[in-house]
Amino acid sequence: MKRRITLPFAAVAVSGLLLAGCSSNNSTTNTSSASNSSTAAMAPGCEAYAPYGQLNGAAVEVYSSITGVEADAMTTVFDKFNECTGAKVKFNGNKEFEAQLPVRVEGGTAPDLAVIPQPGLLQKMVGTGAVVKAPASVEANVDKFWTADWKTYGTVGTTFYAAPMLANVKGFIWYSPKEFAAQGYTVPKTLDELWALTATMAAKGGTGADYKPWCIGFGSDAATGWPGTDWVEDLVLRVNGPATYDSWVAGKTKFNSPDIKKAFEAFGNIALNPAYVNGGLGDSASIISTTFQEGGLPILKGSCSLHHQASFYQAQWPAGTDVSPTGDVWAFMMPPNKAGDPPAVTGGGEFVAAFNDKPATAAVQTFMSSDTFANARVKLGGVISANKGLDLANVDNQLMKDAVAILQGDTTVFRFDGSDAMPAAVGAGSFWTGMNDYVSGKPLDTVLTDIDNAWPSAG
């Protein structure tokens, strides 16, 4: 009998240790404000936090997919908020966020706030009935600081639920300014110029081993294929225009329609041409087996010249790489279809949804939609925001400044990453696998029909 009792106790002890191990990473919130916040007068530097009042130790959990250095930056921002308001905001980043959030919501342990990076997932969460409507203070901030497009992405049906937080800009093409100068290449102004440049590069060759103009990497474990969806989205927006893009994302324009097929073919002209890919890595078949993190690195060895990836790719260059307009690597925006077309970009962002209407939750949600938050977070580096209250002086380098200028620009046609906005069955499913099939040599018509078939039926 004795043995039987000690076993479960040992198990509890072990799981207790595991819990302790897990928690030490997450619960790094500042404890300085925990004790006597009610007696504290307004601390210096807290003027901007006055509207949120004194929250007297109210605990708020912010759940997110953001981990690592970026999570530390979020914690730093909330430390200041905690210090000034006496709240206890706990920032909880989890790599399995997209899978775990629905589980937590269905299991009745929803967080107070969730930072959702896909409008499609936001719709799914709202669909469960667990998300509460954004308070008036949040809506006022969004009306003041964001364009109408961004507000739409946080709206489901006609109800506004979630304010945008940070943003990233997709469709950058990374290149080596040093190589461009040496070879006499210029940054293309239209898509035709880009394709012509590709042909020139293939004819001239490069300095590295197994040189091809482009290098592409789709690998991302279970999400393998997403960099390909970014390619197609950028091409649809530029070649077919924003109206077709919207109707495509909404499921009205099918993947196998001539318009969308044209965009796939434009990508295929590059990705399926053994003379154009895959610099330093092999042929088209190597696209899937190369991780997206490694996809652009052959530029440094001179094995390829061009790599299509979002602004965040800046973090992938190894330490010591000169990332500047005249350095080892830099990026230009994928050009418009024709000269004179308005600048069009795709991008992504996060949306802060609340799962209860406690005053502290509303205060934190309001804070996260404010210019104070945008400036505090962007100042710490690595990210940008489409918040119009963002001071460009807080943005850490020229590429990011350009991206903010694009986002804030009045003539810019901005569209949210299409696969993130499509239903998960397509946007996180058949679109990814379709891209993998396409570069593996499956006929395009079959690929497109397969993607369409996964679209949830409407009735």
Binding site: S27, T31, V156, G280, S289, S457
Partner: protein, 359 residues
């Protein structure tokens, strides 16, 4: 701000077990202790209560009453945790669920319609899904046969050999490796493939050394499924070998000696003495590995996520249900897998009972 130095000293002394910890995980820990205490109390009450309660009845009834009260908690838990979800899954597999969002609030109303066998027909007619089903059958046949053959051969060869224990341990070691671990080892050390530059995967490095063309093991459709199967075979062979080795040791040595005197060679003795003697154990090993194979999820999930025609039902049903939110199809695949596994489980239990009776 004023309390900062104090808190800093405090957190150093407590090594991270600060107020925040006790407020969150401390509460969980307490809850776990209470739950365990309650569990022990309930079990004790049940045992004691059954004893008292059954005393109220005559000897004739007592056995039945005790059986009923002791078994019913298990049955109730099984019904809630296993049977009810299984029934739900079964019904779900015959429906089509459409989520209709409210035009104003976006909150979904689920509308499910009965569609008979539509999901099953799709699972067996859609080329991608059909391939998944066929792959599962290939796994089911190849893995048990290969592991058992290799395990049996090894068990026979090392039987009563010098250093048998060490030789056995070597083959048994992979059994202790988790499938995710085994997949990573094989995927990145054995099967790694580079189109350019030198080969970093062991097998491809050897092929290149011998002057052959390196193979992309994970994308070479349809052989990639076989390469994935090898990983499971590697982990299951040790299990087959250990169980079969024990069975071989149970074969009376006199039988072998007598047949040797009659002029039977080693090959004949193996097929006509050893194999028939361990037939029951062979069946148990084969069926146990088949059942383990049906649940294979880890290898596919870790290495290919079902790409290049390597999908299997166990991975696809998870993918359809949770990732793609295509719940009816996921449920239908789960039922298909259940249908595959039931005859084998029944046969396995029967064979196991027979083996036990013989000993």
């Amino acid at each position: 701000m004023g309390s900062m130095p104090v808190m800093a000293v405090g957190s150093v002394r407590m090594g991270g077990l600060n107020a925040d910890f006790w407020a969150t995980n401390g509460k969980n820990l307490l809850l776990a202790l209470v739950a365990i205490g309650a569990f022990i109390a309930v079990v004790a009450l049940l045992l004691w209560g059954t004893e008292l309660f059954s005393r109220l009845f005559s000897d004739k009834w007592r056995g039945g009453i005790q059986l009923f009260t002791l078994v019913s908690p298990v049955l109730i838990l099984l019904a809630i945790g296993l049977i009810w979800p299984a029934v739900q899954t079964f019904f779900l597999s015959f429906t089509n669920v459409v989520r209709i969002p409210d035009p104003a609030t976006g909150i979904n109303v689920d509308q499910s319609t009965f569609v008979w066998f539509k999901n099953y027909i799709f699972a067996f007619s859609d080329p991608t899904e059909l391939r998944t089903v066929i792959n599962t059958l290939v796994w089911m046949f190849v893995t048990p046969i290969l592991s058992t053959l290799v395990g049996l051969a090894y068990a026979v060869f090392i039987d009563r050999a010098k250093g048998e224990r060490t030789l056995k341990s070597l083959v048994f070691l992979p059994v202790a490796v988790s499938l995710v671990g085994a997949s990573i080892v094989w995927g990145f050390i054995m099967y790694d493939f580079n189109q350019t530059g030198s080969q970093t995967g062991i097998i491809n490095a050897l092929i290149a050394l011998a002057g052959g063309h390196p193979i992309n093991f994970l994308t070479a459709d349809p052989w990639n499924t076989i390469f994935l199967i090898m990983i499971l075979v590697w982990t299951q062979t040790g299990f087959a070998m250990v169980v079969l080795s024990a069975a071989i040791k149970g074969v009376p040595i006199e039988l072998n000696e007598a047949s040797a005197l009659d002029g039977a060679n080693a090959w004949q003795r193996f097929w006509q003495i050893t194999v028939p003697s361990i037939r029951g154990t062979l069946v148990v090993v084969l069926t146990t590995i088949t059942i383990a194979t049906l649940k294979v999820f880890d290898v596919v999930r870790t290495l290919t996520q079902g790409r290049n025609g390597t999908n299997v039902i166990a991975y696809d049903m998870y993918d359809q249900f949770f990732v793609k939110d295509n719940r009816p199809l996921g449920a239908a695949l789960a039922v298909v897998m259940f249908i595959f596994v039931v005859p084998i489980v029944v046969y396995n239990v029967r064979s196991m009972r027979k083996v036990r009776e013989n000993h």
